[in-house]
Amino acid sequence: MLELQGITQIFGGVTALNDVSFSIRADEITGVIGPNGAGKTTLFNIVTGIYQQTSGRVIFEGQDISGIPAERLASLGMVRTFQNIELFGKMTVLENVMVGLHSRSSSGLFACSFKMPWALKEERRIREEALQWLEFVGIADLADVTAANLPFGRGRMLEIARAMACKPRMMLMDEPAAGLNSQETVGLAELIRKIRELGVTVVLVEHDMELVMDICDRIVVLNLGQKLAEGTPREIQDNPEVIAAYLGDDD
């Protein structure tokens, strides 16, 4: 479904990613792990069109998406969440999700100003569907709260609801469990499984090993900008190189 071919990213003189290649299969939950500075977030930023890689190609559903700007990826079916939750703070929770439906609605400047019947109909559909997504993540009761006032955990749920409102086929999550307490993390794991059941392929960068080992079908390990290993959670746990990278080498 998603194929990375020889991705290299050089910032100034620093090589953040060096010839990284792997592929992600449809309908699986894939975890990308690695020590700090391994290049995980950089990789996400390249895949989602925020950075332009120095070399290499990103193929999404058979189409080369290298260099396609972020806003077009949403309509191609790829969406992401951020490590430090990026909400529209001054807007309500419901409005945040309604923005997620932007790419799946089309009323223009004039139809909206003149309240054309089709624009009003579309607006109703946007509102209803946004509410459904809030119910899906379990924060429908907070619909009218200003997003900036949400507790961190709820903000994370909102960000996921907003991303799901784009009806993606692939969702990339950058450290979704960061800042969540253990109870919230359990809820998150359940939610990610529910998302997969809807036919969405999930890729997550994560430091919470318990979560990763629990929900991921496959894991890719990055270290110092290079791919170190790839396999099922069990294979990764038993891989001596991975253990060395995480715990330090004896030699």
Partner: protein
Amino acid sequence: MKRELLKYSIFAVCVLLAPLAFLDSYLLNVLVFVGIHTMLAVALNLLLGYAGQISLGHAAFFGLGAYLSGVLTTTYGWNPWFTMLVAAIVVGGLAFMIGFPILKLKGHYLAMATLGLGIIIFIVFNEWVEVTSGPSGFSGIPNLQLGQLIFDSDLKNYYLVWCFVLGCVLLSVNLANSRIGRALRAIHDAEVAARVVGVNARLLKVQIFALSAMISAIAGSLYAHVMTFIAPPSFGFNISVELLTMVVIGGLGSIYGSFLGALLLTLLPEFLRFMHDYDIVFYGGLLMVMTIFMPGGLVQGIPDLFRKLVGLRKGKGDSHA
């Protein structure tokens, strides 16, 4: 939705009845300009308050509308209504084309670029003497006419201008509460996040810049026909700053706030006549006080102040009891 309709109805009724209080008064004439300024402030607010993009050159679009209407109707005898439409489309199209390169800039750089645009167009008004009559101003512009009705008195002009204002406010409120308004506010709050969920930030910014310029151009056309005389100083840098002040004082991202800002800043000079040239000191002070104590503008600040006063009284009552 119902609340929006109620607010708008109250606003419309006040606007339509206001002249009864000021018949035969020179204030009626001032209120005509409040209307034109309201259109300009609403236009700038769409760009600044919703999309979060600054423009220090909006007086130029106002001036282009005024000069296009003035010159085409007076020198070339075009129909004024048709010319108004042409001016809006031409200015909107121009802003659309300029918007693509200029709106790539952010913050101070965008302010500088729009400032430059305003100055260039101001120089054209001043120096292209064969067409604009230059610094001495362009006169003899006909009043607008609708059948037998000629808009040549303050009262008639009041209703002419305020009909446009009511239309402009209604459309802007609709737009602000639509998917477009939401997307604009999203860009303002977190641009990268908005793009990731599929909002084409660049195109939307350019579209709203063009729409804002179009509304300003229509205000310019009205101004030309109401005044029958236009001169470059009415479209200079200080006017752009005045518009910005109206939007900030009224409240960023509030359409009715823009009306309050326009009302305050258009009426004040009439009461500050005695201060002669020192009134600018008053504006500066006002802007400082406002940004410190009412950062949300009048539209948020007044209810807040009211709540505080009520709270204060209640607090005192409690301590006595």
